[in-house]
Every structure is written in structure tokens, then in C-alpha cells.
Amino acid sequence: MSTAGATNPMSQSAAAPARQPLLSVRGVKTYYGNIIALKGVDMDVHEGEIVTLIGANGAGKSTLMMTIFGNPRAREGKITYAGRDITQMPTHDIARLSIAQSPEGRRIFPRMTVFENLQMGASINGFAHFDQDLERVCTLFPRLKERLQQRGGTLSGGEQQMLAIARALMSRPKLLLLDEPSLGLAPLIVKQIFEIIKELNEKDGMTVFLVEQNAYHALKLAHRGYVMVTGNITLSGTGKELLENPQVRAAYLEGGHH
């Protein structure tokens, strides 16, 4: 995978605003029929960053992630990736621009084996580096290696989440979009998954955009974060700033499990 941006992430996020962002979202409005879900969202993800988006249920976090992938499409505003306007692009073409997504609810293929699921992830780049990538995800997720011939639907929730991330990694993405990777998982597995995300970012320089409910872990991991409330971005800052912000603490962290 790309080795660009493997330098110290903290110094990079400080230097980032000067460069053109890898992914930029400007004034995006998304509707479900007549109901407005995103009310003009602005957001940037720079190369080599981990950016997290937190917010309550129904705030529009997943909608933003799906809008970046063109499903549903933004009715207003502009989304650019690496300088290209992707607002009107069909989902499958966006996926070919080295953006990979692990969608909400995992969405693995339950009747296919783990191996076949991973193959599906590699089909975008025509299985160019399949063996290397397979070995790589097997090192990252030893659990999956044991279960390559098992059907996806027979895996446990945590393993399915690992499979969803591994499948997304098979296309060697520059930008990885993760929608609630910690959903419904035991704290220990959540910790593992977050460690893997960190490793991907630090070792491979992979840019990660993370949508999370688990605000504490997400903000601790991320270089920068955004807070979304009913379709608007209300706060943004570095992970540390947001963790210390009294509003964020009150709304998402107090009484929460750490």
C-alpha cells in the first residue's frame, strides 16, 4: 500500500490546511424525498489523517458517508476527491477511485465464504495484488485466516466487522470510510479494531474517515473530529480539543463508558 504520509501524524495535521484536502465536502444538502437530512455540510479530510464524525442517532452521520459514495446523491453542494468532482458520479465509479467503504451494518455476503468475500473486495483492481493483500489482511486479522473457508454468515459479529474492514482493504484504498465499526461489539474487540485502524494510518499512511457513536474512543484515535447535530456540523477541532470541550463532554461523554 501507499507509503505517502507515513510521517508523524500530529505534525501533518498541523500542516494540512495549507494543502488541498483529499476529500472535501462543501455545502452538501441531501434529502430523503422531501425530508432534508443534511442541511449544508462542510467538511475536509486531508491525506494521512484520521477524521472522525460523531453525533447522536439520526444526526445524519451515515447519510453523509453514503452521500460521499453517491447513494443517495447530494441535491446541492459539491464533493471533491483528489481534486475531482464526484458529486454526480455513480457509486461504483466512486469505488474505483481508490476509496473504500465499510458500510453500516457490515453488509458482508453471508452465503459466500470469507475467502470469496475478500475476493469480491479485490475485484475492483482486477486481483492485481491479491495474494499479497490477502496475506496482509490475514496478518491484521488472524481470526479471519482461520476462517477463510467458512461462510460469512456463520461468523460472529466482531468477525463480520473484521471481514467488512478487511474486504474494504483488499482494494488498496487511499481513503477508507468506516461507518460505526464498533457497533454492537465487545469492548475488547472494539479496542482491537481501533488499534488496527491506528496501525493502518501510521504504518501505511492510509487516510481514514470514521463515523462513530463511541465518541471517547473515536476522538482519542482521531487527529481531527466533527460533531454533527440534526444535519449540521456544529463543532470541529482536533480530537484532543473536542475531548476536552464541555459541550461534547456533556452530550456524548458524561456517564458514558470509557
Binding site: F69, T91, H92, Q101, F109, P110, R111, M120, R151
Partner: protein, 471 residues
């Protein structure tokens, strides 16, 4: 994560008795067969026959052989059945499975290794077997005809299996493509005098084209809505065939369609006919046997192409589409093209089958392409187990051959009176069979999805443990 688990050892222990040991099963079955043989010598092998004042001893060794054979097969099946049951029980609950599941291939998988060559062998030698059993070409006509009928449905089932079983697009109007194929051959051959072998690919292409035409408007539909639109499409094709009298001759149909030739050699009694060319005595059955092998070849072609496609990215994309459309798109699969190719390729095989139908009947009319046909083909796919090739073949034999067998159950007349026609109860039994299937095997005869890539060793998990995707 890698903490030693207590469940592993116990799982392996319970796994041991569940293995289906074929050698042991055969040995045991052989013993059972020997006992049967010993018992049947005094009981079955001889029969006394009285002829006037004399008493003859008639041997019935064929009966003994049959009984011994049946007992042998039943015993093997019993072992297989018990082993499957035991291995199901021994499998850990998928929700608790935190250690790798080392499941042996199920008994079904082992049996299928023998069953597939057996099926193929029977199919290939079927006319010969019928000839030997019935003792003559003319006498075997009925069974060869039945074989042709069943194979036509096997082929249609395999064709629809691409659309419904693999791509997961519920198509209730498949008969439309069958009709397009049949009318393509009928019209091209009667109007332009083209031969069957030229019309066959043309009919396939035309049907594929219509598949795409149907595909475009329904791209955004799934499930029930898709089913209704395809149902309407099937009816539209039939109504067009009835009402466009100038082209299709309406409800009267197209008759005197040229018969099939043996690659240009007609099946006639003349000097340039098939029989004369090969130095045989002329017999009308030659044509039927040729038709039998023709449809067998077409059906096997369908199967071969499907099996190959399943291993290619396009086939895998079909299966992924069936399981989760959103995941497909976010993995860069163009779902539009994927759906259209599924419709087109499925329709193409329907078109092949249709032109075969026309060449066999020599007559086509819209009556042959009603909704019931679509329903039967769909029932074959669903009962067989969506996506399973062998399951579809078995379901076709049962659903098409079964009702034919009913005709021969004349002894029922003795029970229910002379006017009883078992064939009238065909649909009743059909329905009862469906209900029974849905109770005992709700996901079809063969619900296991065979992985298209197999690493080193197989680890089978019963398909019933895996939830269906919803997308």
C-alpha cells in the same frame, strides 16, 4: 483473542462419530445384502406354478437380485442420512463459534460425488436403457418423449436459475423468452427457410435482446415489484403473439415448421435420409432419439456455461448482487450491467430451449406459453434450491416426470372406480408436494451453496445455519 478454548477439544470429540465413513457403510451394506440374499433364497427365489395337473418350479432370480440391490442401496442411504443428522447436531452454534469450525464434508457432498456421474451416465444412456427395457425402438417412444420433456424443463430451470438463483432477481415471466425463441425459429424457418442450426443462435440472440429490453425498466425494482413487472411482461408477449395476426398468425399458431435434420441430413425414408446414409432400416424413432441428444447437449451446455460463469467475476457479481446490492455498489460493481447480463444470459438459454421446442413440435401457438409454464419453471428453481444446479435437475425430474407417472397408476381405478383419472389430481398433488417441501426443506432440496473457490480442504456448514442476505 487467542486464548485456549475449552470448546475445541469437546467439539472434536463429538465430531468423530458424525463422520460418514463410506467404506464402513459399504461394508455394512454388503453384509446386510448377504443376509438378505440368504433369507430370500428359500423365500423368494423359486415359485411354484400350476399348469393343469402339473406343478412347475419357476425361478425368480431377478426378483432376488432386485431385493438384494434395494436393501443394499437403502442401507447405504441410511448410513448417509444418520451421519448427516449426527454432524448437524455436532456442529457448534454459529453464534458461539469463536473457534474455527472443522466440519467434515457432509454426507450429501460425499454422495453427490457419485450421484453426479450417475445422473450423467443415466441421461447419456437413457435411450439405450429404454430400448433394452422396452424391447424395441417403437415401444420406447413414450419414454424418450418423456425424457425430452424433462430435459427441456431441466434446461429452462437452469436458464432461469441464472436470473433467480444466482442474481436473485425474481422473474415470473421467463416463459416470454421461451416464446421468443420458439417464434424466432418458427418465423425464420418458415419465412426465410433458414436451417435449425442457423436459427438456434439467432433465437438465442433475439431472446437475450428481449431480456435486455425487459431488464432496463426493471433495474430499480426488487422482490415483489420485480415479480409483478416480469409477470406482466410474460403476458404482454403472449397477448402480442395472439393479436399480431399478420406476423404470428394469431391464436391459430404457426404450423408445418421444418423438422430437425441431422446436420443437414433429414430423417426421412428416402435415399438421402438419415437411415439410408448410415445403412439402417428407416424408423421414425431415429429423429426422436436425435432430439433427445440435442436437448441433452443444450441442457449440458447451459449447465457448463453457468458453472464456468460462477467462477468468473461476472458470476460472482451475480451472487453478490443476490446477497447485498448496496455492498456490491460500494465494492465498485456496476449493478446495472450485472443485472442486464443476468437477464440477457438467462433469456438466451430460454431462447435456445424455445427454438428446440418449436423444432420438436413442428407447431407453435401462444397457448403453449401461458403463465402456468412460467410458474412451473420457477417452481423447479425454487424447489431445487436456488442456485443449485443438481437440485434444479432433480426438481425438474420430480415436477415434470412425476405427473406423467400419475397417468400410469391405473390401479387407482380399482380403488376409486372406473371414471377416476389420476391426472386430474395433478395440480392437487403438486400443491401438496409444495407444502410438504416448504415444511421440511424450506430453502429447496439442496440449499447449500457450494463455494466457487475451494481452498485445500472443504469445510461445510449447513446452508440452513446461514441467514439469507437482505438488501
Amino acid at each position: 483473542m487467542n486464548a485456549p478454548s475449552i470448546t475445541t477439544s469437546s467439539a472434536e470429540e463429538t465430531q468423530v462419530p458424525s463422520r460418514f465413513n463410506l467404506q464402513a457403510a459399504l461394508k455394512d451394506a454388503f453384509k446386510t445384502a448377504l443376509i438378505t440374499l440368504a433369507l430370500s433364497i428359500p423365500i423368494l427365489s423359486y415359485k411354484t406354478e400350476q399348469n393343469g395337473g402339473e406343478l412347475f418350479l419357476a425361478s425368480r432370480w431377478w426378483l432376488v437380485a432386485a431385493v438384494v440391490g434395494i436393501i443394499f442401496v437403502l442401507r447405504v442411504l441410511e448410513h448417509a442420512f444418520l451421519a448427516t443428522k449426527a454432524s448437524r447436531k455436532a456442529l457448534p452454534d454459529p453464534h458461539q463459534a469463536t473457534e474455527p469450525v472443522h466440519a467434515e464434508p457432509s454426507a450429501y457432498q460425499k454422495v453427490s460425488r457419485f450421484a453426479i456421474p450417475l445422473f450423467l451416465g443415466v441421461a447419456l444412456s437413457f435411450p439405450l436403457l429404454v430400448y433394452l427395457v422396452q424391447g424395441g425402438l417403437n415401444e420406447s417412444r413414450y419414454f424418450v418423449d418423456l425424457g425430452i420433456l424433462i430435459l427441456t424443463y431441466v434446461m429452462l430451470g437452469w436458464g432461469l436459475n441464472i436470473v433467480v438463483g444466482l442474481a436473485g432477481l425474481l422473474d415470473l415471466g421467463y416463459v416470454a423468452f421461451y416464446a421468443v425463441g420458439a417464434y424466432s425459429y418458427a418465423l425464420l424457418s418458415t419465412t426465410f427457410g433458414l436451417s435449425f442450426w442457423i436459427c438456434l443462435p439467432l433465437a438465442g440472440i433475439l431472446a437475450a435482446f428481449w431480456g435486455m429490453i425487459l431488464g432496463f425498466p426493471v433495474l430499480r425494482l426488487r422482490g415483489d415489484y420485480l415479480a409483478i413487472v416480469t409477470l406482466a411482461f410474460g403476458e404482454i408477449i403472449r397477448l402480442v403473439l395472439i393479436n399480431w395476426v399478420d406476423l404470428t398468425n394469431g391464436g391459430a399458431g404457426i404450423s408445418s415448421i421444418p423438422r430437425a435434420t441431422f446436420f443437414g441430413v433429414p430423417f426421412t425414408s428416402g435415399d438421402d435420409g438419415f437411415a439410408a446414409l448410415f445403412g439402417l432400416d428407416f424408423n421414425a424413432m431415429h429423429r426422436y432419439i436425435f432430439l433427445y441428444y440435442l436437448i441433452l447437449g443444450l441442457a449440458l451446455l447451459t449447465n457448463f456455461v453457468t458453472m464456468r460463469l460462477r467462477r468468473l467475476p461476472i458470476g460472482r457479481a451475480w451472487e453478490a448482487l443476490r446477497e447485498d446490492e448496496i455492498a456490491c455498489r460500494s465494492l465498485g460493481i456496476n449493478t446495472t450491467n450485472t443485472k442486464l447480463t443476468a437477464f440477457a444470459i438467462g433469456a438466451m438459454f430460454g431462447g435456445f430451449a424455445g427454438s428446440f421446442f418449436a423444432v420438436r413440435q413442428g407447431f407453435v401457438s401462444p397457448e403453449s406459453f401461458n403463465f402456468l409454464e412460467s410458474a412451473i419453471i420457477l417452481a423447479i428453481v425454487v424447489l431445487g434450491g436456488m442456485g443449485s444446479q443438481i437440485g434444479v435437475a432433480i426438481a425438474a425430474i420430480v415436477l415434470v416426470g412425476g405427473p406423467e407417472m400419475l397417468r400410469n397408476l391405473t390401479f387407482l381405478k380399482a380403488v376409486f372406480g372406473e371414471n377416476f383419472d389420476p391426472n386430474e389430481y395433478r395440480l392437487l398433488l403438486f400443491g401438496a408436494g409444495m407444502v410438504a417441501m416448504m415444511v421440511w426443506r424450506p430453502r429447496g432440496l439442496i440449499s447449500e451453496r457450494e463455494p466457487s473457490v475451494i481452498l485445500k480442504e472443504r469445510k461445510a456448514i449447513s446452508g440452513s445455519l446461514v441467514k439469507e442476505g437482505h438488501g
